[in-house]
Symmetry: C2
Subunit: 235 residues, 2 copies
Amino acid sequence: MGTEERKKREKEQRRNQIIDAAEKIIFSKGLEQSTMDEIAEEAELSKGTLYLYFKNKNELYLAITKRGSTILNNQLAKIFATSHQHTGIELIRMIGQLYLDFVREHPNYFNAFIYYESLNNVEELEESEFAQTCEKHREEALNYMIRALQIGMQDGTIQDNYDPKELALVIWASTKGITTVTHMRSLGHHLEMIDEMEISVESLFESFLNLVGTGVATEEAREKGLTGSHNIETN
Amino acid sequence: MGTEERKKREKEQRRNQIIDAAEKIIFSKGLEQSTMDEIAEEAELSKGTLYLYFKNKNELYLAITKRGSTILNNQLAKIFATSHQHTGIELIRMIGQLYLDFVREHPNYFNAFIYYESLNNVEELEESEFAQTCEKHREEALNYMIRALQIGMQDGTIQDNYDPKELALVIWASTKGITTVTHMRSLGHHLEMIDEMEISVESLFESFLNLVGTGVATEEAREKGLTGSHNIETN
DNA sequence: TCACTTTCTGACTGACAGTCATTTTTAAGT
DNA sequence: ACTTAAAAATGACTGTCAGTCAGAAAGTGA
């Protein structure tokens, strides 16, 4: 009989029901301000039950983080499903744009990412299946970046005198830096100086893509204007 | 009589004594694992006294963060004290190198920076004099970056078709992204995949500087090899 | 209906951030 | 030296909350 299977499915549903509740509470008032009692109430369960499904509060938040990273990676996969239609340098641009769109559409998940990265209790992370998945996704994302660069080196839109792995890491890290600034800004979080500068996120990111574009693009790709819509004239 | 002044000085000393103790405890076991009682004991004071000098635990950690950001900005200032000896593109490189050196020498302060950026309780931050100073330092750092770019646009080593403010923000954010990855890696924190790639921090950062260098440098500066020691040959 | 397992409950515990009435120390006047 | 008022420091106490666990409830299968 399929009882076993049904039970597994139900267990998974409960888990999701708890994560749903946790998101509602934590996204509205922040991790520190949210109590397990509140989350339990929102989930229409008792606090004890939460601990049957998640080892502790951090683990529950990691489950949320995993959700976010799954969304992001699915979108990355979509880009690469049509990778044959694009040049390498275009793919790099598209990945960058994806991160920007993600931080705008899912600021709360992005917050979770930042929190995740601030954790430095390595053992705890290694024990968590959610953290493991997040890590796997990160690796995957980096691999997509590497592939885009390799494609670009093949099609001649990206200089081939870089080590693609190394360059991927550099671009990925820079993209995250830019995305983080964008995010912090949208939070109203400090950095009001940026507002005073009257720089829009769009043009900021455009500059970044151009910078990366001209930095890695071949002369040829640069001349053809493939590196960005606001292409830089090489003098 | 100078009693007033002496008292002020003593008060400042107490404050520093507490921050010293807090650093010892928090740097060794992390913010969450550290209790105010422990810190009080280390400082040879009672817990209550800690609260006479710092509103709460977060505020105390912000004081530590401020220390770190002061160190960083002093070093930035040093670079600019001799700015007339360097071209704009060189200054950009030096700033990047400074961040890398900082994260290596002061990983604990850098941790504090990451934590600081993960806070999203804006009101609390605005009330804290320490957070205010950190914010001021950030603005200063960005201004140094802008100046470096302006110098480079003057001396012809940096393309002048970018908005220096915007570009500064982009490079600054990217630098922080790279630095953060470097830091996380040195923590043993996830990202073991980087180890597997056998990419050294040096070459990683070198790539970044080259990327930024070639992205913003003028053709002329690129040819003269001013953008980096491992200069990229333009085909 | 019974016996057994799985799931759930919520009162309880321990830990810790933050408070405050009280004590101790310091500074200045007489 | 004595008094007094202000400033600094104390640590026992409180409230909150993460996490536990003995027992209740629900589900399963014979």
